[in-house]
Symmetry: none
Subunit: 406 residues, 2 copies
Amino acid sequence: MNPTVAILAVGNELLRGSVVNTNAAFLGRELTGSGFEVISNGVCADTQEAIRFRLAEILRRADVILVTGGLGPTPDDVTREGIAAHFKVPLLFSKAQFNRLKKIYKRFGKRIPALVRREAHYPANARPLINRFGIALGFSIVTGNKTVIALPGVPAELQNMYFDVVLPLLRKQYPRRDRARKLVVKLTGIGEPDVMKKLGKDFFDDAFDFGIYPGSGEVAIRIMAQQKAVLLRLRKKIAARLTDYIYAWEEIPLAAVTAKILARRRQTLAVAESCTGGLLAAEITRHSGASRFFMGGTVAYHASVKKKLGVSEKTLASNGEVSRQVAAELASAVRSRMEANYGIGITGIAGPGGGTAKKPAGLVYIGLALPHGKTRTWKHVFWGEREQVRRRAVVKALEYLWRTIR
Amino acid sequence: MNPTVAILAVGNELLRGSVVNTNAAFLGRELTGSGFEVISNGVCADTQEAIRFRLAEILRRADVILVTGGLGPTPDDVTREGIAAHFKVPLLFSKAQFNRLKKIYKRFGKRIPALVRREAHYPANARPLINRFGIALGFSIVTGNKTVIALPGVPAELQNMYFDVVLPLLRKQYPRRDRARKLVVKLTGIGEPDVMKKLGKDFFDDAFDFGIYPGSGEVAIRIMAQQKAVLLRLRKKIAARLTDYIYAWEEIPLAAVTAKILARRRQTLAVAESCTGGLLAAEITRHSGASRFFMGGTVAYHASVKKKLGVSEKTLASNGEVSRQVAAELASAVRSRMEANYGIGITGIAGPGGGTAKKPAGLVYIGLALPHGKTRTWKHVFWGEREQVRRRAVVKALEYLWRTIR
């Protein structure tokens, strides 16, 4: 049994949704990877009472408690006080920390603000944890087999302190940890229910931890198991049963996989987008190295821009801007205009407005122009609101490209 | 005293940090804005035991419990079972929901997978909440003065269902709510420390709740107070002290503000992007109605595409692709090519690779071509990793456009 961890974030801004709790995800990922089991994470208001109450509750269940946030200099930062109150100890003043802070301010030619004196305090039963990346002091308390650690809420400071002081401390305190082995599979072109059907009932005969996560047009399977033999067996089954949909055995987006293939083959790509409005190009260029295969793109939003790119007036007039023919001509025009091996064209109605009975919101045509000059097209009606339709269309276009070049 | 809400997200992927819990932030923001008090939010493992345990714990404290996630069709989705177990009721099968699902699959020419049958179940003491945006059924349970609501974890489905069915239900159930008065200010072109300095010490004389949240190139201030007079006083001070940076007094992105102004003035825009790779166009077209002012864009990634758009060979040769002159020519070429009133050009080094001592990663030039034909340019060196640099460049370009047309 691995040591258990509970994460408690302190802050009204998190309860009220002014800020997204990315620290919980960071700590969850890192701790899980290092052989700790995160059993809960939660947020409480920044009052001493709320902190004391939640701390007492989770100390009963977890070996390690990580408290994040509420260590700043302003009066609404009460994590120090709340934790000290739980343990019924006073706060101590650290002269060394205060001198350190004075030096930092001096370096920037400033006098230390009175408020910052609060930053040099910590509970009497704690050991200070120096924060080399900011002014908030962290601290750790070890009582019996339990460890309570308080860290600042600023993500960059928290992340740096995690690697700098927290992980070494936890490793020393809890030397016996089994790292669970992990298997990741990324799929495209198949939905969650069909994945389960294809895996079959006997897939779940072994003992392991199974998660399946749908994205827009992508599905991730994440499996954790103690035994290597189990993972190998599962990997074989997945490879055999889902072969046509697997695009990676690691955490990597579809755009990065197609990028690798194109770069390796020394082939190039250009895209022409209407309803996706640049989202496909932005996804393709999200990772560095795109210049090795990506020529560029056109966001052909207005009909006049479609015409200028090379979509014929006749096609537009007889089929409309949202049509199979326009998708094909967008793909083919951008391919030849930008002198690429492959061209992708997307036209559709992202919604919520603009749909008709014959051409509803969500209708998207995708065209793919191939190196020898031929063009293929596909029609889809995507479900969801505007941004979902756009994201699904982007992933679908990448899927067709991937199926063509893999 | 406003009705209290506890949010409970179900899912190992959230504990382990494979997924960031953006739902908690969304619900926190919306509920707070509608006069509910979010007193806790937490995550538990996807086991029936964990759900039952946490549910019992938070039902003692909050009036409303919102459970998110774990409503999918696969065996690891056990929210239905966990909640039913807490209330000691069986699950019921909804023929109506199942027929609805069958129809959806039929519309896409598919037979309904056996697993999806699970989606048509809900606890016997619950009322189903139809999800018009996905296949997972939500449900609500009202017992005494408490309300338990289960929603799917897919953000788009959750958000749509919130406005569609959850908020109306909660409004009816809890008619007596004091909405804390809220003041929102969105700023651009100024950092957090400078905002604080310009606000000054006397700004904080009144009693109110203050939050400041930096984004990439944007800053939001959110203030809550009970008294209208206090908010009016604060609004006046902010308007006077930060006047040059305020682009909105509501939750709205900068792209939407510039869109409104352009549409009102019946003016049009075209963009040419290199390092941002389509991100600016995607941001502009994220909200419907973009066709009223947005002509389109070019993602001029490769030098040859820049040339074809109209950047002169000489400019490229003597200044390099990342230069003030290229930004200006991109802006001006795309403006005339797409017959728009304004043209934006962006060229830079998003990094992490590709930088030199003279032209480091993060260097970005922005050009803006104006209706009368003149062009303005700006140079920036943005801090951060690739996607941060790209987002900052997009917001900066929108800021210059906003400053020009407001």
